[in-house]
Structure formats: C-alpha cells, structure tokens
Symmetry: C2
Subunit: 474 residues, 2 copies
Amino acid sequence: MTALYETIADHITEQIRSGVYAPGDRLPSVRRIKSDHGVSASTAVEALRLLLDRNLAVNRPRSGYFVAKPRQSKPTRRVPQSRVDRSMQARDLRTPLSLRLNLGIGNPQRPTLGAAVQGPELMAVTAMNRLVSQAMRLNPVESHSYDAPPGSPDLRRALARRAPAAGMEVAPEEIVITSGAKEAVYLSIRAVTRPGDTVAIESPAYYALLEVLASLQLKVVEIPADPNRGIDLDSLAGVLDRHRIAAVALVSNFSNPTGSCMTDEDKATLTSLLARKRVPLVEDDVYGDLAFEGHRPKAIKAFDRDGWVLHCSSHSKTVSPGMRIGWCVPGRFLNQVEHLKLVVNQATATAPQLALASFLDSGRFERHLRRIRPLFARQVDDMIAAVERHLPSDTRHTSPAGGHVLWLQVPGLDSLALYEEAASRGIHIAPGPLFSAGRRYLDCLRLNCGFAFTDETDAQMAALGELITRQLDR
Amino acid sequence: MTALYETIADHITEQIRSGVYAPGDRLPSVRRIKSDHGVSASTAVEALRLLLDRNLAVNRPRSGYFVAKPRQSKPTRRVPQSRVDRSMQARDLRTPLSLRLNLGIGNPQRPTLGAAVQGPELMAVTAMNRLVSQAMRLNPVESHSYDAPPGSPDLRRALARRAPAAGMEVAPEEIVITSGAKEAVYLSIRAVTRPGDTVAIESPAYYALLEVLASLQLKVVEIPADPNRGIDLDSLAGVLDRHRIAAVALVSNFSNPTGSCMTDEDKATLTSLLARKRVPLVEDDVYGDLAFEGHRPKAIKAFDRDGWVLHCSSHSKTVSPGMRIGWCVPGRFLNQVEHLKLVVNQATATAPQLALASFLDSGRFERHLRRIRPLFARQVDDMIAAVERHLPSDTRHTSPAGGHVLWLQVPGLDSLALYEEAASRGIHIAPGPLFSAGRRYLDCLRLNCGFAFTDETDAQMAALGELITRQLDR
C-alpha cells in the first residue's frame, strides 16, 4: 500500500511533469499541504522530502521548496568540437591498448586525473559491506551456489521497479544481469555483430567501446557528435543510407569523454530511424543517474517501441565498481545476450546481486544519489576553475551537466607527448587519440573529476599547466 | 619461518615421494618421531596431521599412520567407450544449447542428477561468509574500487603458493583472475583462435566447452578418449599431422563426463607433442583437487616448459561456485588473456578474491578438501550402487577416482527421449549427445553425484530405471 506522503508526492510530481509547476516555481508550503490534504505537518514534510529525493525539488533555507531546474550544459563556443572528415569511411581499428597503461587505476587509494574512477566517499561502501554480509547470512545456499542467466530474480525485480526513473517500462524477465556495464556492452555487441561487420559510433567515443570493437574484429564509422547534444543524427542517417551498418553504439547521457546528453527529441528520432532501418543500438547509460540537478535524463530505451535498443547500465559509477554488477535490457536480442552470458562466464557473483537489490528496494539508493550528485557537480566545477587557472587561456573545455569527466582542447597540444611527460611525474591523464578509432583529437585530453578537489589536485593541475606551456613553447 | 612440525612433515613427504615409504607402508609412529627428532608428542602429532591434510597419509584407528594409496579408476570392460568415426573430420558444431534447459540448476536447494553442481554442505559456506565480510571490513576501499587485470595480488600470491600441489611452479605475475574457470576457458580459447579455426577436443567432451567453440564460430575435431586415461595421443598426433589445428582443449583430471584422468606419462608426452607442433592447449583442471584418495594428480601445466599450455581452474567445485572466482595461467599467451579480460568485463568482483586468498593462505582450504573428498567418493560409490540396483543389468558405467560425475551407457537407450520423459517427472539428467559436437552417445547419459545420496535420490534412480526399462521394451 502506498503511504499517504507518497500519494501526495506523486500528486505534486504529476503537477510538475504536466507544467502546473514550472522549473523555479515555488511549491506548496508545509502549511498549504496540511490544509489541502488534511494531513499532519510531518506527513507534509515527508512528501516534500520525497520530491527532493526524486531530484524534482530543491530546498532553499528559510524560503521553502522550489521546482528544480535541470542544469543545462552551458552552451559556449569554447567547447572542443567533434572532428571527423566528411567521408566517414569504415575503417579498421588500431586498438588503443598501449595508451591504457598509465591511466592510474592501479591504486584505488590515490586520486587520478586519468581513469574515469571515483573516490570511495562517493560509493556506498558502508551500506554495501553490511548488505553483502547480510545477504550471505540470510541466503547462504543461494549466495554460494551456481547462478544462471538471466541472474538474480530479486535484483531484476528491483531494477524493473526503478526503471521508470529513466523513463523505461521494463519487466524483470527482460533484464540480464552482467559483471558490470562493460560486460553488458561486450555481450550486446557480440549479440548483434559478426567479425568484419561495421559499427557506427559517436566521435569522440569511450575508449573501452573501441577496444571491444577491435577485439571482435569489427570496423567502425565515426559519426560527428556535438559536445552538448551528442551524436549528429543527420550524419548518422546519411551513413546508414550509404553503408551496411550492423549496429550503432554510444553513451546516451553524459557521454564519456564529452559529457554530451542527447535530447529527448533526438532520442525519439534515433529510435524511429533505427527501427525503420532495422539496425540495433547498443546504449551505454552508466552516467544517467549522475545528473547534477533536476531529474534523471531518460534512457534511449524509453523511446524504443520495437526492441532494437540494447540498454546497458550498472551501479559502478554510483554505488560500487568493485562489486562488478551491471545489466542489459536487450530487447529483441534477449535470448542471444542470455546465451552469451552463459557461454562467457555462466553468471555474476550472487551475494553482490542480492545486496544491491536490498539497497535499491529500501530507497537508500535514491538518498545516496541525492548525497553524491552535488559532490560530483562541485568536483567538476572545481576542475573547470583549475583548468581556467592553470591551463593556457585559449584552452577549450566542456561544461557537462552530469557525470565526472571533462574534455579539453588545447590548440597546438600533443596530448600523447603530454601523457608520457605527465606520467613520468606521477600525473595521469587520458590523451585525446584514445577516444578515436582514427587517432584523432591529438590536441585534446580528458580529465577525471571523480575525486574531491584537493590541494594535491591543484598542484597536479598546476604541474600539467607548466608541462603544456613548456611543450607549446618548444 | 617454517614451524618444527612442518619441517618434520616435509622430511617425511620427501621420503614418500622418493619411495622410502611406498603406498600402504606404515609411517613412523608418534613415539618414533619424538625420539628421532627430539620433539614433543604434540609436535609429532601435528606433523602426521599435516601429512593427512596433504592427502599423503591415512590414519587407521589403533594401528597408526600409513602412506595413502592413490585410488585407481577401476579398470573394467564394462565402461562406456569413446565413439568417433575413424575419419575424425573437422565439423561445424550444432550448439547443444536447447538441451541445457532442463538440467535442474534452477533451484540450489534441490539436488539434481542433471547439472554438475554440488550440495552446499560440500562448499565452504560459513567460512566464506565470514571471510568475505572480513575482507570488506579490512579493505573497504579496495573491495569497492575498480580492480584491473590480472586481478588481486593477494589471491595471485596465494594461488602461486598452492600451485606445487598440482606439480606447477607458477609466479603470481603469470596468473590472471577470472570469473570462474568457464571464463578462463572462454578467454583462453579466444586468445588462441580466430573464427573459422579448428580445435581438437576429447570425445566425449564437456558441453560448456562445445558451447564456447560454437559461439566463437570454431570447428572441432573429436579425438577418441579413454574413460580411464583420457585423450588418445596417437589419434591426436595423427590429426595434428593431417589438419591445421589452432588449439587442443580438454579436461585433464577427472574429466567431465567420463572421469578420465590422464597419466603423468601422457601429460608429458602431450606437452612435448604440442610444443613441437606449436599448438596451444587449453587445460581445464577444475576437478583435480577432488581426487578421492592419495595426492592430487598433476596438472598438464606441470610438464609445460615452453608456455603452450593455458591452465584454467577455479574453486567452484570445492569452495563456492556462487563467488565466481577462477583463474588462468596462460603461459606465452599471458598478454592476450589479460587484455581480453579487460575487454570483456574489466575485472572480477574484489571482495570474493580477497576472501579466497585468506582461505587458501590459512591452510583451511586443505582441511576443507580433506573433509569433502571422502564425501564425494562416498556419493559416487552410492550412485554406482544405485545404478547397479535400478538400471538394466547390461548398463555400463565409469568408476572415477575423483570428481562427482558418472557416465553411463545403456545399450539401446534413446537418452534424448529419456531426458524429456524424466524432466516431465522432475528428474533431470544430462543426455549423451550434449557431450559431442556430432551428437554421438545417444545411448549414454551423465549422472551428477554432487549431493548426498538420500532416499529421494534412490527413488529418482528407481524411477529412472523404470523409465529406461519401459523405453527399451517399446
């Protein structure tokens, strides 16, 4: 049964969604809710708190509750642009593996500007420790026996219940649990391609995707992507007309490295286009929950009526990467993905699945998100300030509205050389060519903002600024 | 520093290995050890207990300690034989997936004769629950952060320390942690083949291997295998002369389904042959630790001087399948396997790795093995008795010396029909054709002996006997 405060919160949520209350509007006060709904003050406060948890409201001390404004990526011309030559030819990948050796993922205690990882204070360490122990204690046999695809029913139910947060309606039976979103993407790509096929990707693209494609002997076509709106749909449509494309693969929300977030309009257009062309889309949506303000952007899957979208996600960016839990909603490719999961490693560890299910079901996940989102926002802001403080004045940077990476362009920079020079001083960055099959973006780099900005971070940024200046002066 | 009792046990171990004490010989008494080594009675007892833990000695109450006799597979002509036509042609696989739906893995609380899984009382549930909780408490940051290939240094060190039990000398740097042995085999096969290649396998072969090969678009040649000694090396040598073989893949010790265990001589011959031909071998050795008596058989890897063996194993059969920890010692293919692990899912969950490392290092794993080995032996014996009690008198069966599966041949049987009929009564078996690329072994089936033999098991076997008799009478 729904609690009274939830009913009230649902009512106000509906009013926000339908525009009764617009972004920035003042919401009904506690007193007003008391009288309108005939409830106690504490029930009214609970209802408003739930709206905070849903990221629909903000609380301004001594003025009341207001409808949250979605934080927009700041439109600016000072943003690195996608660079793909007009031809957009399919090409073999040169795997960027060698570039991954120095991203600084080795020591989890130590912040890194290289790998896109986050500090432990942004994970749910204490809660997960307790919940894993509890899961094993309460379900000793299940925790240690063989699981089989599609994975724990408890976790699939919990994920299905939370799917509406990303605009999706998903049944537990449509979900396959994987060992991280990375495995979900790997299995999805394998499910819809054969060696030699061509996959269309955004440019720049997440390097781990490039590695999957190279490892499976696939060719790629890089499609220009806007640092704010993501993949250019006109270019994509043109490529789909000209090439035999086996699949499209991209990060839908707060993409890595640019932080771009596709609009709902683009998401709808894209799903129609792909359904018409009968081309599957592998959607990586690991950053969607890390919207800095306002509610979570919808998944592309939310617009998918024909099952061509394979939606991949995880809680590695929000709860715990070390537990290795991800999932896939493969649409019409459900059987293939389930079978591949069986073939590759049978199942994902059981106890972490059960623990995550409890975390989601108890509502603690939403509270946790509410705590960490502003921290990520702050870290990104601090990093932007450091870029403006220490890097050459003509440096361009993104201003993402979620996630925790920044993408920079420094005219004239050789980021591969910088990467080596910085690594030798114990500073790790991700150089631009890592994000392109054709090794474009030599004058770009990605900075991780997954850790609290400290004096040490500032010293690293200052050192980076010096290295860049010295390089450009040569 | 080595404790005194360990030094004494090492001394006697050396004497057993060099033949000073032969299998069945009486070992020095506590009194004798006291006087020989000038130690206390309790130290002498500790030393003898350690020999028990090492499976080198048995204790006969009131007579003393004796050198353990390795339990031999009982040679008998009443054993199902490998059936491969002389031509041994490479062929495309028909994937046996559809046959896997009814192996009864769905409910871990319920014993099954179908899937090769074990009862929770044979796992180390309580110890692992405690050790996982402890690992997370003591290493909160490490437990929840991203791990990267090759995996936890603690676990790789613990595995390296225990490698001599299988005759191997392995450094931690040579080991890659995977999500179960299944993933180790998948990554190994991917590392050494390309789509369209041909792989030589034993016949019958473990069905999950066949699925991996089919999924990677590989062809297979089935090589005859003896139910006692395993793969026929003359046949294999002939095939290597005639075909371009990309890799050989087999289960070295207590193979699934026949329970065959290769001799040390064959293992040495095989590694020389493959090194000469420069053909990699994917060795699956998940059952080696489940030798019923005597010490653990050596891994093929123990004989590998040139790095052509990719050794795959796990503790899923001995400690906990649900934790999904396995590993690979890929020899000269180390970089490829490490890279593929990164591509497929980045890493295996961290806390279970740390917990397993503690379990191995504390010596509890050896004590646990000492406890479960006779239980598995008993379960296999009980099942053989039930086969002889309930199944037609001309039924042939294996008598494995380790592991927990039996392989039967019932002349005239259609095991696919039996599989359906039995499943409709809630009884699960693994039909013979599941274990062959060419769907051979229609009159064979595999029985799982992973659970304590109960009245319910006996009733299932009686029902199976009836179904078989009815089928043969038709």
